[in-house]
Symmetry: none
Subunit: 192 residues, 4 copies
DNA sequence: AATGAATGAGTGTTCATTCAT
DNA sequence: AATGAATGAACACTCATTCAT
């Protein structure tokens, strides 16, 4: 019971912060507003988090993990790599589009000086599954012999950009557009 | 003389703001600090800009224009498209790496809610040259028949991501790595 | 058992408060910290004391009583007054030096507006033994005919100041220094 | 003009802080109240002082200097030492009684952990004139051969205590009482 | 009796902006 | 045009105290 309550509040705080930051940005999301939106007293937030910064960082790690986990949850390693990659790539785009708040928060955070508060090792760990996924495919000669870091950057970067395009509302992406995007990426990295 | 001074101050303010924001972020770059760094009184900034927001937006537009202009300044339209694109792509990466402050500022800005202060039409206008560049190549069947918006997103997104990889310091890119990156992008979008 | 426990907790709270205030002062000694240091829940403190102020006042009275009691515990009324006074004076200094936390707390308290929370009558009562001690000596013409209040102030004040000198660490008092201090005080008040 | 205004505000802030702290203590003297009492905006205080602590420390040093200066302003070094000392001792008591706020502030400060914020050397410097005054008298064999530190502690301590007695209101000191106090001190330290 | 999560008023401080000079 | 002292609303955060368990 106690635990239930505990998690409820922590969760509510996370959710409120996410909502506010994704809409108004870091510095237009005062703790008082977070408290209000989470139905919690201002002081309560400080039982769960040492500071605003820490709350934001914790939220980032949490969402990042969830996001990456999601990409591989439905990965079927018995399938051919191309199919697995297609699933991965489209999943990434669709997940982000379904959760724009989380996507905006993550992008905003990782493009701000905030990100330096998180040790590099931790950041790397978050991306590890993606490195492993692509590195193996390089090893088995399915993908071009490109350093995995570059590979990951290329794939994530292109997907991210396409997500932003869709979320910006200035371009309504059909499923065949998504297919085109996938092929652009795939042709860019596949061997031969 | 007067004019010179005038431009000097405005310029100094821009420069100071760029420096501070790229290092500390929007909300850790107080106007008083900008003033100090620009060797100008706090009040003086308000002769040139209506508000902090306006200053930041003006800086964004300015840097964005400069950045895109740069990409095409050395474009040689008599060359084959592949070569022109290669130049464009590598130029983009190298320019950003040479000007990390400007790059960080632009990324930070365009991933923050700030960006909504700028009318969409204006934002579009900034990217126009890139659309035109790629659209023509689709038309002449050099590139896959992908909607230009997607094409631009794909190209810019992958390049941006690679720039970040390099600037993060966790991967030292050689020129052959850059070549690999270019080919990944090129193979992704070229026809046939 | 129960009683033992009861006293243990109250004692632990007193001790924790003493420790914190003597080191950090009133307003840097939060109840939560007191609770932590006393190995007690924050709420528990409020079973024993109505408020922080009350706790602090209770602690003051307690330490003050203990301090004064101590001065006369080993008083031998059969001895000549000069000897008794010498014992009293040196005892005061040595006790304080042996218990710096208590001394600092007492000084801090009695020089703060807190002290007004304690009724004057109570404060007087605390000092009563000292008044009596010196008044008698005035009466028997061993001491100058000075109003006892002044006499007490003079004696306590000079001793207090010498204690602070020693505790400040800027002067290491030898036992012959103490003797000099005693004689200064004694020569100041003795008759003839 | 500018300077006049400047000092006016700084002075008003000092005065307001003194008033509040002497009455309510450090932690019941919020900056907002200081601002109000000084007829100044809260932010203005921070143009003159980096923090509340710094303001308080600056005030301490200021008052301390003023207090000690005062003691020697009317010293006549041609007079016999006894007379000079009498003047010094009574002046100290009378000054304090005439300026109870300053006295309370100084006592409160110097008995709080605040005092450790001020480098020991600075504190010593404040007392220097008193050391010199008494040390010389030891040297010329007017006073007992007691270490000057102890001498100063003895004199200041007894006077301080007598001041508190008077200010507490529980004893109304006549001028002949003062004379008694002086002689107590004098007989304590004079040679022979 | 004992807990400690929760409260929310209150604190010190910052900072975009103004305006008299 | 230029200054920078002054403003005061807004902020992150603290902490004495309460109360359901």
């Amino acid at each position: 019971m106690k635990n239930l309550k505990y998690f409820d509040k922590k969760e509510a705080i996370f959710q409120a912060m996410l909502e506010l930051i994704s809409k108004y940005g870091f510095h237009s999301s005062p703790m008082s507003e977070v408290a209000k939106q989470a139905n919690v007293a201002a002081g309560t937030i400080y039982h769960y988090f040492k500071s605003k910064d820490e709350l934001i960082c914790a939220l980032y790690i949490r969402l990042r993990e969830k996001f990456v986990d999601n990409l591989f949850k439905t990965d079927d390693s018995t399938k051919p790599f191309k199919e697995r990659f297609r699933h991965f790539y489209l999943q990434m785009i669709q997940e982000a589009i379904k959760n724009p708040k989380e996507f905006y928060f993550l992008e905003q955070f990782s493009n701000s000086p905030f990100v330096t508060n998180i040790p590099k090792a931790n950041l790397q760990a978050l991306d590890q599954p993606m490195y492993d996924f692509l590195r193996k495919a390089v090893f088995t000669q399915v993908l071009k012999d490109i350093p995995p870091k570059i590979l990951v950057a290329f794939v994530i970067g292109s997907a991210t950009s396409i997500i932003k395009l869709q979320l910006s509302g200035e371009f309504k992406m059909t499923s065949s557009d998504l297919e085109l995007a996938f092929f652009a990426c795939w042709d860019g990295i596949r061997k031969g």
